[in-house]
């Protein structure tokens, strides 16, 4: 899945980035001790050393970085441990299994459209000479129960009752639709329907997935500016015809270069507060 991630040298760990993520997920390392700024700096140094237009490498890094950020923000916020603990791993699974599962689901969906249903008989079977034996134990309460069930089910059908689940597929499809519609979009537009921080993280991972698959390119012109998303082919065309312009190379987020040089402590505070403000 893309280029191998570089190694980092940190106070608490030395080695490849994906190993770092795994150790933290397995709670063998304390995420609160980890400096995300240091990780980012070392990665950028590595990336600049080998040329900055390696899109898949950047996407792979962003994916790991986003998960580290997510884990760290949760650690700092002292969220109660939930089954959601595995969220990062599940998202990863989703991304990996998604293409395969999607193909198969297309088969099933088409199959619902094409195949006919079977029907049972609707005619009663009269046997006049038949003496009906008694039914067993019914009470009027049975009718009340059955009717209450019918009326309750209706309420279950109401969308307001549905718990909102965040599905990465939703955002993959949304980005696809937005790109197909106007040929471009931005991260702010993508997250318009988002209702929680988790949903924004999922949307971000969806953007990364597009990047990883080489189906889109992203640009961010300034710190905190909207992340523009373009289809990969359009971005390539724009780049070759527009090479004289000062636009940064596709796939690089200059916001990272422009990040203020803070020490670890400040960075930690920033991470702790940001989710509260955003959520």
């Amino acid at each position: 899945m893309g280029s191998p991630l570089p190694s980092v040298r940190l106070a608490i760990f030395q080695g490849p980035l994906d190993v770092l993520l795994r150790l933290i997920q397995e709670q063998k390392l304390d995420i609160t001790e980890l400096s995300l700024v240091a990780v980012t700096r070392q990665f950028l140094a590595h990336a600049q050393g080998m040329g900055t237009d390696d899109g898949p490498l950047l996407a792979a890094f962003l994916r790991v970085a986003a998960q580290l950020m997510h884990l760290k923000s949760r650690a700092l916020l002292h969220e109660p441990p939930e089954p959601e603990e595995e969220a990062a791993g599940l998202l990863e699974d989703q991304l990996r299994g998604y293409e395969r599962f999607r193909q198969l689901m297309t088969t099933v969906a088409a199959w619902q459209d094409e195949r006919g249903a079977s029907y049972q008989r609707t005619a009663p079977t009269p046997l006049p000479e038949f003496a009906p034996p008694a039914l067993v134990g019914y009470a009027p309460a049975d009718l009340v129960g059955a009717l209450a069930a019918v009326l309750e089910e209706k309420e279950d059908d109401l969308p307001t009752v549905a718990r909102r689940t965040v599905h990465i597929e939703t955002y993959l499809e949304r980005i696809d639709a937005l790109l197909a519609g106007r040929g471009r979009t931005g991260f702010r537009e993508v997250i318009e329907p988002a209702q929680s921080l988790e949903e924004i993280v999922v949307a971000f991972l969806a953007v990364l997935e597009f990047l990883r698959l080489g189906k889109a390119a992203v640009r961010q012109d300034a710190l905190y500016a909207d992340i523009r998303i373009l289809p990969a082919d359009a971005a390539r065309a724009a780049n070759s015809s527009d090479s004289a312009s000062a636009a940064p190379p596709v796939g690089v987020a200059p916001a990272v270069h422009a990040a203020p040089a803070t020490d670890q402590g400040h960075a930690r505070d920033a991470f702790a507060r940001a989710p509260l403000e955003g959520g």
Binding site: T122, P124, L127, L135, D142, L143, A146, L151
Partner: protein, 182 residues
């Protein structure tokens, strides 16, 4: 490979709730009446050795279980009658009981699912009966509960149905909502 006409007709007659005329079947299948009649003759000949016979009554056709299987069929229906009603059947019965007279479309609108088969089950058990046709488009059949129904549920009359007013209000409300969302 499309289904042969004999098979299509067999499928139609299998689910039909009443005998079908050649004309009706020609209309539904979009085939000439002559072809339909020929296919029915073929089906009739083939069904002689099967458990399902094709019968002709006053120019209409219906499938029935073979008369030689009648003792077994009777035994099975006896088994069925001693069984508890399935959840869908009980639901359907409750809707008919509180709403009556109720048409199939009304029942399905409240339940939100196809109820053809469960209506047949309730008719089989004589818990409901088909009544008049309603003088509205399509002239749908109206269903009512029977005396058997009152007996089995230990009710003196329909007025003894518990919480009648409340459920009637809820049912008509449910129907209105379904109409809106449809």
């Amino acid at each position: 490979m499309p289904l042969p006409l004999t098979a299509v007709l067999e499928g139609l007659l299998f689910v039909a709730e009443r005998p079908l005329t050649v004309r009706e079947m020609a209309q539904i299948t979009g085939r000439p009446a002559r072809d339909v009649a020929a296919a029915l003759a073929e089906l009739k000949a083939a069904s002689r050795e099967r458990g399902i016979l094709l019968q002709e009554q006053d120019g209409a056709f219906l499938l029935v279980s073979h008369p030689d299987a009648a003792p077994y069929v009777r035994a099975l229906l006896g088994v069925h009658r001693r069984e508890k009603l399935s959840r869908p059947a009980l639901e359907t019965l409750a809707v008919v009981a509180y709403y009556q007279p109720a048409t199939r479309a009304e029942i399905e609108r409240v339940r939100g699912v196809n109820s053809d088969h469960t209506l047949a089950v309730l008719l089989n058990r004589e818990l409901i009966a088909a009544g008049e046709r309603r003088p509205t488009p399509g002239r749908p059949i109206e269903y009512r509960t029977t005396f058997e129904f009152l007996k089995h549920f230990g009710l003196g009359s329909l007025e003894d149905l518990p919480e009648r007013e409340r459920f009637l209000a809820a049912l008509t409300g449910a129907e209105a909502e379904r109409d809106e969302s449809a």
